[in-house]
Symmetry: C2
Subunit: 427 residues, 2 copies
């Protein structure tokens, strides 16, 4: 089945906003085993919209159109869709009543121009929008089934999941149920994981499990797409394969599905009734900024301190100035970071402390630019530390250090070794 | 002139990566007064590429193709371009020599498959790539002039600026020179600025200055696009208009052109030989994370402290516990934040301190969610403080508070009032 995505709107066409709706939709379709073969972007212009609808109608089996369903004069999707299909517009009393209720629930009067949003091409199938006033609709134009969706990301996502994906899967004749299982890891490169998971697809019968990856440094997402006649079949096919993925990737899996590294860390700390002190240098507050916005972080994250000169840690957290001097190499570096983590924990009266000091190389930025990383974790029971070196440029080093710090804390909380060698390390 | 952008590659088509090359190119063309009317995205597939090239060749005057110039078998742009133009491929000895020199300079042997990158359609005009091995080229297909560019963003940007924009401007018959002047502001909404700048275009003769906006909350970018026969003409037309923009937007302009808010703040601190202490709560380290990565920040940013419970400021920066309790309202709030800023400055022995405490409303997130913000700045000369309230959701509040904190510090360093009312405030 040939699927196209057609994005409309001057703001997307002119690059004023980056088209994240496109990548969201395409990725979501791919995750369900549906392939997008063509993407089109046009502005709020009648002639161009009509030409784009006609071209897609002649080429594709299914087309998702995004945008142009709003109440203003430059929202043209319904009108041009009707023209392309050779039908008129009809007033949809049911959707109009829904809109009136939407405004009434918010104690607002509905502006007159919202009536336009209840005008749909004759013969169109309404697609519900439970979170906004722009209903979607499906309509056949030429040889293709068109699905019209709102530009507001939250509304689009809901409609795609609830209304459009089931219809597309039915059109594709996909039997039964599809499920996407995701593993997030840090520390292994894509080709390394691909190699570790060799033969994994063959564990399930009939090609019912498909393996895929999405790399977004520093994390890698490993995906298993499973097809089965029903939910029980999904569970039966997935269970041995996911167990094997967990076994092979082991300690490197930091979270699954919608969970995140920072969320995993916060959940573990919360379960333990713990409080956290952070010390950052080169990472400049980015570890704190990952944890602080999460619900519940306010009771766990007690204090974060960011310094650029390690000597500042003496007044900042009461570290011993004499123990801050000296080499970041080898044993001396590990002793230094252990002391910093311990001092931070004491200063904040926290149960846990994570300290990360990065010593960037001198010289200009570039692919060969790197730095030495010291990570220390302190608890009542003592300290655990590791050292590492990452190359690849200033920003690469910074992102890698943030991730490594959070991942070491995750490992420590899960009683896993914190110093397993990772692929991004240079020694 | 009708310009199209045609992006190629499976990773972009399937949404694995967000297509920022598209928005970069479209925005850059708009900035030069050139309009993109159509965008297409297709994968690394021969038949689809050919169909896409042919459709664009029949529709557009100029087409920028992005991607597909690499050395691997799925890089098909040269080959399909030749097919669409009805010509063969020819070996470009000059570019091959350039590639050999590129590898030699890096002490690496050139792999055999890189030879492919020197095969160009017959009659193509080479477009230089000084930062990579993929040369671009221009070729007429059908009625359109095609410009082929590499997918690596850094290489694309250089080629667009140096090679393609001058050719497109010449094709468009744009006389003389074009210049884009940009102002960045915080605190005024787009419609407000539009109103403040009424009549500004009319100050220049012959429509030679065009006004535009780009809103990316919390900042707004105001753009003046100037056309003139030569550089002297640009300067003459721009000078009175930019002076008037500065006069009307006044203290709200935080930076111009490529400068940033955090860069402006750091530059002012550096000029003053100052050092900075930061205190953050709900903003969770995001102010520190804006300043810390900038070159030179390591000598200015002495210490940042992030806490979630203000009571923690007593042990963290030696604040007086008694003065941390009490209301965030009115005079009491201002006294509290003044004390916090002062204590932070003393604790870090810094010349300047910026403290920002946010008290988010209770209850669930949503468009009506807001919070109260206290901002204090301390120097040797004393403290300056302001209070504000922002509504619009947790993330909106957080972003707004970060920007307001940095902007207050900018204003203070420039000896401007820090408590001018902004459009995002609710009182």
């Amino acid at each position: 089945m040939r699927i196209e995505i057609l994005c409309t709107g001057d703001e997307v066409l002119t690059g004023k906003i980056t088209n994240t709706n496109y990548s969201y939709m395409a990725q979501k379709l791919e995750d369900m085993g549906l392939s997008v073969v063509w993407g089109t972007t046009v502005g709020d212009d009648r002639a161009t919209l009509l030409a784009a609808f006609r071209a897609a109608a002649a080429r594709a089996d299914a087309v998702i159109v995004n945008g142009g369903l709003g109440p203003t004069v430059d929202d043209l999707s319904q009108e041009i869709a009707a023209e392309a299909a050779g039908v008129g517009l009809a007033f949809h009393a049911g959707w109009f009543a829904t809109m009136e209720a939407f405004f009434a629930a918010r104690s607002r009067a509905m502006p007159a121009n919202n009536r336009k949003q209840a005008m749909l091409p004759e013969g169109a199938e309404l697609l519900d929008n439970p979170v906004g006033t722009a209903c979607g609709f499906a309509l056949t134009i030429g040889k293709a089934r068109f699905f019209f969706t709102p530009g507001v990301p939250r509304e689009l996502r809901r409609m795609l999941d609830d209304q459009i994906l089931p219809r597309l899967l039915a059109m594709a004749g996909t039997p039964g149920v599809i499920h996407l299982k995701r593993f997030h890891s840090y520390g292994l490169g894509e080709s390394h994981v691909d190699q570790l998971l060799e033969g994994i697809e063959a564990m399930a019968p009939d090609g019912s499990v498909k393996l895929g990856f999405r790399a977004h440094y520093p994390q890698l997402e490993t995906k298993l797409l499973v097809r089965a006649p029903d939910a029980a079949g999904i569970a039966a096919r997935l269970a041995p394969v996911e167990a094997e993925v967990r076994r092979r990737l082991g300690n490197f899996i930091l979270a699954e599905d919608d969970a995140t590294l920072e969320g995993t860390v916060l959940a573990a700390l919360t379960r333990a009734g713990a409080t956290l002190a952070l010390v950052e240098s080169f990472t400049g507050g980015q570890i704190a900024a990952r944890i602080a916005p999460l619900p519940g972080a306010e009771t766990v994250l007690r204090r974060a301190v960011v310094v650029r000169d390690p000597a500042e840690l003496a007044p900042a957290i009461g570290a011993d100035a004499a123990r801050l001097r000296g080499s970041h190499e080898d044993a001396a570096g590990l002793a230094l970071i252990a002391h910093v983590a311990d001092a931070a924990r004491n200063a904040a009266r926290a149960s846990h402390a994570l300290a990360i000091l990065v010593d960037p190389d001198p010289g200009p930025d570039g692919i060969g630019f790197g730095g030495s990383i010291l990570i220390g974790i302190a608890t009542e029971a003592g300290t655990a530390c590791r050292a590492a070196r990452i190359l690849g440029g200033r920003e690469w080093l910074r992102l890698g250090a943030v991730e490594m710090g959070l991942d070491c804390l995750r490992r420590h909380l899960a009683e896993l070794p914190i110093d397993e060698r990772i692929d991004f390390e240079k020694r």
